[in-house]
Structures are given as structure tokens and as C-alpha cells.
Subunit: 120 residues, 2 copies
DNA sequence: GAAAGTACTATCCATTAGGAAACTATCCTT
DNA sequence: AAGGATAGTTTCCTAATGGATAGTACTTTC
């Protein structure tokens, strides 16, 4: 019997799978979506603001994740020369292109909750 | 100075963040999106088909992830009583509701590739 | 001058994720 | 009887994730 051929090895599928890998590697970790979601909702946030907004995150994680996001140009970091030095984090124009992704994720999660609580 | 109030603690934001957590906890791990993406593209797949389709995955991981997905009713598993026993994995109707999420993820990843290769 | 707020960094530690390899078990073909 | 296909499970090991705690450094307020 001939070995069954691979089905989805068309260029389109390869590209699609690669794209999903890319996105997920950039957005990996427990907190990236929370941070981006928060930043998209608001305007500018200080480090401590984000600590308060994102329930449960520790300062090490927040710091590390923000650096990751900054490296990928999804988040901007601006040091203000205020009295006690403050830093302003904001979503970049590029980071804002993730809105549809995050919205779909949130939408699905909400429907998931309903399907679990409701008819099941 | 009064402590700055938390900004995004409106019910809508809470629900949104909770929803993102829910979705990501169900879709956690390195392979879930790949498996779902593959299953959505095709019709029915045997275990070995999936091994061949999903480049790099090991049998332990595939087995574990499929069990997870089955538990959450995203994937169906049907044992066929064929000569050498075969199993058919397919996306469920419910699992198919993840298409928009996966499509947005893939779309963003493709644009990301272009922005890195192109103007930057 | 002590406390408290700003923004972190560094260290330690435990859990988890995930890869490699070997193994079980059944069936068909040669 | 051997080889290869089906579909996994089990064991072992390492690397990454991420939480808790403490410390740095500067400034303002009490």
C-alpha cells in the first residue's frame, strides 16, 4: 500500500502555518495579551498604572514583557523628565493593528463562557 | 497625593480580560493552533496523517494536545472498526467557530512578515 | 530624617512544557 | 516469522516560565 500523501503541503498552507507560528511566538507568555489589551483600551500608562490594571502580574514579569513588546515595536516607552521620574507606555500604531486579533479572541472567549454556563 | 485610581475596572473591561484569559488557557501550548488550523483546512485525519501534516510534532505531544482539544469539544475523535484500527480526528462544529480567530492570527502574521522583509 | 512613591533589576526557586526514545499492542503483507 | 502500518503510552530529561522577595536609586512629602 502506498504511503498516504501529505495533504496540506500547498504553499498557501505552509505560509498560513508559518504565520500562525510567527504571531504566537511574538505574543507568547501569560501576559502579552493582557498588556496589549489594556494599552489598546487606554491612552498612556505608567509602570505602576499597569501593575494596578493587570491583576496578578508581578513587577519582574511586567518589566520583561514590556521589553519584549517594545523590541517588537508594539509598545512605545517614553521616559518623562518629571519630578520623580515617570515612564509612559503606550500602544504603537503598529501594535494597534493587533486589535482585530485581540477582539476576535475576546469575542470567542465571551461566547465560550455563555456556552458553558448556558446550554450544555 | 491620592493614589491614582484604577482606570479600566469597568465591568466591560473585566469581562473582556477574563474572556482573553479563557480563550488563551484553552488554546495554550505550542501546537493547538497548528492542529486546529490543519483540522479546519481538511476534513478528517488519522493520527499518522496529523503527524505528517504538523511538521516537528512528536507523538506524545500530538496525543496530549488532541485529548485537550477533545475535552473542550473542539475536536472529535472517532474510532473506526477497520482492519488495522484507525481513528478519525475532525474539527467539531464548535471548533469551527475558532476560524475567525485563527484567520486573524494568520493574517497578522503574514503582514508581520511583509513589514519585516519590506520597509523597515 | 523617615516614609512612601516613582521604576525598575536581581536572585532564588518551583513548576511546567515539551522533546527524544523506547515500548505496547493489534493487524496486514510478504 | 519479519517488517511495517495503525495508535498510542511511558519514562526520562532539560529548558523555559513565572512567582516571591529583596534591593537599587532618586524624589517628594510629612
Amino acid at each position: 500500500m502506498k504511503k498516504k500523501a501529505v495533504i496540506n503541503n500547498t504553499p498557501a498552507c505552509q505560509v498560513r502555518m508559518q504565520a500562525i507560528s510567527d504571531t504566537m511566538s511574538i505574543l507568547s507568555g501569560k501576559w502579552k495579551f493582557h498588556i496589549l489589551g489594556t494599552l489598546i483600551e487606554g491612552d498612556k500608562f505608567g509602570f505602576m498604572d499597569l501593575m494596578r490594571e493587570i491583576d496578578g502580574i508581578g513587577n519582574k514579569m511586567l518589566s520583561k514583557e514590556l521589553q519584549d513588546l517594545e523590541l517588537n515595536h508594539l509598545v512605545s516607552r517614553t521616559v518623562m523628565n518629571t519630578k520623580p521620574i515617570t515612564v509612559e507606555y503606550a500602544i504603537t500604531e503598529y501594535g494597534a493593528t493587533l486589535s482585530p486579533v485581540i477582539n476576535e479572541l475576546a469575542k470567542w472567549g465571551i461566547e465560550y463562557r455563555q456556552s458553558v454556563h448556558g446550554a450544555k
